[in-house]
Amino acid sequence: MIEETLIPKVGVITDIRKDTPDVKTFRVVGTDGKKLFQHMPGQCAMVSVPGVGECMFSITSSPTNMDYMEFSIKKCGCVTEVLHAMEVGQQITVRGPYGKNFPVEEDFKGKDLLFIAGGIGLAPLRSVINYVRHYRNNYGKVVIVYGARSKDDLVDIEEIQTEWMNEPNTEVYLTIDRPQDGWDGHVGFVPAYVKELGLDPNMTAVLCGPPIMIKFTLAGLLELGFDKSRVYTTLELRMKCGVGKCDRCNVGDKFVCKDGPVFRMTELDELPDEY
């Protein structure tokens, strides 16, 4: 039998962490207890629950983690609802990795990096942030701006507070949309916060979050003097095959599954506005 990309591998959920009221992080390994496959930061995998469906998720864990993969998944549809109801030990299927990764070995090397995320948008960024932390000497200063609706909606807050905030040459700025008891940090939307912070426009920026946040944050960055060719984001569209054949995730002549999900803002400018 020839190997077929559409036929998935079986994965076992070895840990489930409840990050926020509607986001859980699933740790997955193969049935042999080893990592299912290698990937690069920003790449995705098709995760499925047989009988329910198959969906594309970004791989949240860093490639430098050689033991397992993690997926941070927000409950918002049929498949995610079933995933959220699962227990440790449950098997699922996984295939991948798919898509283009962040240019961590090319364009990012030696640069100061700015990561801006909103809500579940942290998922794809966590992979690249931890990759950069692993190879810390290859990169300059790291600034992370992360916002969510409330303090309870901040994904991976423990890792952020215990690890990222203590990383040398790294600044972490957190914000929530509205004031809340027990929160003495910044309050306000991400785009406004980014402008307030007066960030250095020579940094290479990566944006990830809801479309509306990306739109306004990008406008803010441009005002600060950032160059679009050094701003990256990720797109998300309906996918079935993950390999550029089922023809539904295209934006113009680019497939999000194959040519994305990571796009440079200048690349997006050349594509029709249909995402």
Binding site: E4, L6, P8, V10, P50, G51, G77, R238, C246, G252
Partner: protein
């Protein structure tokens, strides 16, 4: 060149079918589609356009891909091809020049890395016998895409006239099929074929769609074409059905779905249509909300996106099925005429 009398075609089919599957245009309940041949089937080689193209021989409308058996928390994945001989050879007979070209269009998608092995298995084990056209109709415009309807490619090329089917092998696969059936043939036919080609070419050149201008469909015009105000009017009567997509020989969008059976979950794929409202629907929204957007996607894909991804090759072959079958008479020609270039009257 070889030839066989028309009344002996049934012997030819029977001979081929002895050793392998044979698919050809068959009339059933009044309509002609590609079906597996067996004695007694009403073969209709004369039919210019089968309703469905032969693409479903390689890319079936519905196809089981794998099975999942679940027990407690465990899952077993079974490749369903293990349970039957996926590499059974077959012959696809009577393929017109446009439909043959369409298979090349599909190859670029399914055989590109990572190869779709379901498609590849069938593709590699097929011998394609094409049939030249002798009575093209007004909805035909294959010539616009550089296709010669009188000399289709394929492993074997055939021509049909009142009396004979003429046969010429082009490839090794074609030679090997010829060797199996040669005893039924006699030599000759060059002159008849040349004469038929000449007559047909005159008709082809005089067809109303013979000179469509595609010059504006270039990757560099992608955004300009996408933003063209004409899409709104062109698509207003679109019903959002999948007729054009499903009769199209090059449309290859598919869906992957799961089906629960008592014996486990079957994951199958089936044709899908970018004309359908739920095609791009996600849990949190839809990137193509209006029928205009979906209509635009289909034609932009065929005339701009696909060529941009495949060295300028269009993913329309001018078969004219959509011209004949759209319930409300919208079609790719009307799009080409509106947006294709200055030389479309």
């Amino acid at each position: 060149m070889l030839k066989i009398a028309k009344e002996r075609l049934n012997d030819l089919y029977a001979k081929i079918a002895q050793t392998q599957g044979l698919f050809l245009p068959v009339k059933k309940a009044g309509e002609v589609n590609y079906c597996v041949w067996s004695e007694g089937k009403e073969v209709s080689l004369e039919t210019l356009k089968t309703v469905k193209s032969p693409k479903n021989m390689f890319f079936p409308q519905t196809e089981n891909m794998m099975k999942f058996k679940t027990e407690g928390k465990n899952i077993e994945v079974i490749d369903v091809r293990e349970s039957f001989d996926e590499r059974k050879p077959f012959v696809l007979f009577g393929v017109k020049a446009c439909d043959y070209k369409a298979i090349e269009v599909l190859d670029k998608v399914f055989l590109a890395d990572p190869v779709d092995t379901y498609y590849q298995n069938r593709r590699e084990n097929t011998t394609i016998v094409t049939l030249a056209c002798s009575k093209p109709e007004e909805s035909c415009f294959c010539g616009v895409f550089g296709i010669d309807a009188t000399a289709p490619q394929g492993d074997v090329t055939t021509w049909l006239d009142e009396n004979y089917l003429y046969w010429q092998a082009n490839t090794e696969k074609g030679e090997s099929l010829t060797a199996q059936v040669e005893e039924l043939f006699e030599k000759g036919g060059e002159e008849e074929v040349a004469a038929q080609q000449e007559t047909t070419k005159v008709v082809l050149e005089s067809l109303p769609y013979a000179n469509l201008d595609l010059s504006r469909f270039q990757p560099e015009n992608l955004n300009e074409l996408f933003d063209a105000p004409e899409w709104e009017k062109m698509s207003e009567a679109c019903l959002g059905c999948g007729t054009c997509t499903f009769v199209c020989p090059t449309c290859q969008c598919f869906d992957i779905r799961d089906f629960k059976t008592r014996d486990g979950v079957i994951r199958y794929r089936c044709w899908d249509s970018c004309m359908y409202a739920d095609f791009t629907l996600m849990a949190h929204g839809n990137s193509r909300n209006s029928q205009m957007q979906r209509f635009r996607q289909r034609f932009m894909h065929k005339l701009v996106y696909y060529p941009s991804q495949n060295d300028g090759m269009y993913s329309c072959v001018g078969c004219g099925r959509c011209v004949n079958k759209c319930p409300q008479r919208l079609n790719i020609v009307k799009v080409i005429k509106t947006l294709g270039g200055k030389n479309n009257d």
